[in-house]
Amino acid sequence: MGTICSLLYAKQELFASVYLSLQKELGLSVPALSLADLVKTHLNSFRLFQHTADVPAPFVENKEKVVARTMQIVELASETWLVTGRHPIPIVTAAAFLSWQSLQPAARLACTLARFCKLAGVDLPPPAHLRLKELLEILLRMASQLAWLRVFNMDKKTVVKHIGDLLQHRIFLLKNAFCPEDEEEQRAAALGEASPGSPGAAGGAAQGEGCLSGGKRRPLLPPCLINPRKRLRTAAPSASDSAVTGEEPISDSEIEQYLRGPEEIRAFRKAQAWL
């Protein structure tokens, strides 16, 4: 959609509302977004697959390899709730960056995301940095479950070297690195229902262990649920609220508090005249 808008010099919000209302009025059924197609078309615009003057030799890469690995990383992102509800392009950009880096880590680890996009001749969308951070966090957790990597202290630079292995075993690693999404809820419910005292504590501890075995584990949830932003929850309507009938008598004093007295009106008129 961004491409179309830039070609038409159209405002994105205007285009979006026209598109949505057309879809509704004409009853169009538009095929859902296909991430695979998006990856292919977006990577077509990257200028890293041929030797050119401004691209250093170690940065040039085989297109098929990059596309294949990017596809796998985007699938991984999709499975770990990083894609739902987000703009897809920044995810593809971040995934392309990681896959390109991992194919020749020695030469490319020093390159930043911003520089990568500049070299590739592609815009760097603002959310791409956050998506990159989220992807790296997922990969680090997976790396903690890989036997031959546990000895190393992985960080977000070193994990890139092993992306190939991590992708190869991703199904197994995902299962081990994250607990099922509702286990945390069950744990909370169990703790809530358990009677206070030792039985409850023991039950809670047992449940907690199930989630924490083999190192730190967290439930596989979308980031908005992992880091909930503190929101003022409006309290559920109290009994006094429910007792409102809509037909209560309204006192004069209550209404008069909203009316201006004559002196106030005069003062207000004067002030208005000045403005």
């Binding site: 959609m1 977004l33 894609v83 429910s242």
Partner: protein, 322 residues
């Protein structure tokens, strides 16, 4: 909780122009009032009393064989007795046709509150009297009740208004004719905002319940009256109700848009939520990956509850998919 039910029931009855009966509070066996699923009973009563016109015709087709006999527990007997006492109060103000259904429904309306969503032996499927959505056999009610967040209503004050005059003499009014051709007035209790037009028509927004919206609109009308205009209170009507709730699990929106293509619109580039246009009842739902759901477009509270009960099993189907 019983207090809530009774007062809710009373409001519904009053609105339907039936005679009110004095409130009778029968303390129930101790319930955990803090549980979030406290007002399931509220929903039952709400859905019943909001459709009194439809009740007489549909009894024959409603299969009530699922309702169990209340005999076993002492607790259940207490519930039954209490239900009956309340039943006697309600009988005085509703037609006799309803009473048999009410007995059954009210005795079953107080399942053990601590059993949240899973079916206990006594928990009935939450079906309205005239099922407009397909009834899944042995389906449990979700136990989650959407909270109303905003009510929009309109009323006709039936007299021409001098907006400049109103803005001058009222403290809580703002008027910017270049920006918008109406006075924006606010009151503190209930916390609402009103748009007052020179034709005498008024829009009231921000209330959290139908009754609060009506009370607020009346207060605005009184303010206009006190400013010297012959304001009346004609054709008060709720135009839109917005509710929200949380299903407590993440939802695969990409999957949902595939299986419910005719109703769903999910464009992550435009909006992070999925827009689900339900046909019956005609409600628009915004469904987010976090499991939060916003329901809008209702003219009646029951439409919101019904829409949520329809969408909940669909959403549960996407809980485990990965």
């Amino acid at each position: 909780m019983l207090v809530l039910c009774i007062t809710e029931a009373q409001q519904r009855l009053r609105r339907d122009d039936l005679s009110t009966s004095p409130q009778l509070f029968t303390p129930m066996s101790p319930y955990d009032v803090d549980l979030p699923i406290q007002t399931t009973e509220d929903v039952l009563f709400g859905s019943q009393f909001n459709q009194p016109k439809e009740l007489p015709t549909d009894f024959s087709s409603v299969d009530l064989s699922f309702l169990p006999d209340i005999t076993q527990d002492n607790k259940e007997q207490n519930l039954f007795e209490d239900g009956h006492e309340m039943q006697k109060e309600l009988d005085g103000s509703t037609s006799n046709e309803d009473s048999s259904i009410l007995t059954d429904e009210s005795s079953l309306a107080y399942p053990d509150a601590s059993q949240a969503t899973e079916a206990s032996g006594v928990c009935p499927p939450l079906t309205p009297m005239a099922p407009m959505t397909p009834v899944t056999p042995a389906s449990e009610s979700s136990g989650i009740v959407p909270q109303l967040q905003n009510i929009v209503s309109t009323v006709n004050l039936a007299c021409k208004l001098d907006l400049k005059n109103i803005a001058l003499r009222a403290r809580n009014a703002e008027y910017n004719p270049k920006r918008f051709a109406a006075v924006i007035m606010r009151i503190r209790e209930p916390r609402t905002t009103a748009l007052i037009f020179s034709s005498g028509k008024m829009v009231c927004t921000g209330a959290k319940s139908e009754e609060q919206s009506r009370l607020a609109a009346r207060k605005y009308a009184r303010v206009v009256q006190k400013l010297g205009f012959p304001a009346k209170f004609l054709d008060f009507k709720i135009q839109n109700m917005v509710g929200s709730c949380d299903v407590r699990f993440p939802i695969r929106l990409e999957g949902l848009v595939l299986t419910h293509q005719q109703f769903s619109s999910y464009e992550p580039e435009l909006f992070p939520g999925l827009i689900y246009r339900m046909v019956k009842p005609r409600i628009v739902l915004l469904i987010f990956v976090s499991g939060k759901v916003v329901l809008t477009g209702a003219k009646e509270r029951s439409e919101i509850y019904e829409a949520f009960e329809s969408i909940y099993p669909i959403l549960k189907g996407f809980k485990k998919a990965s």
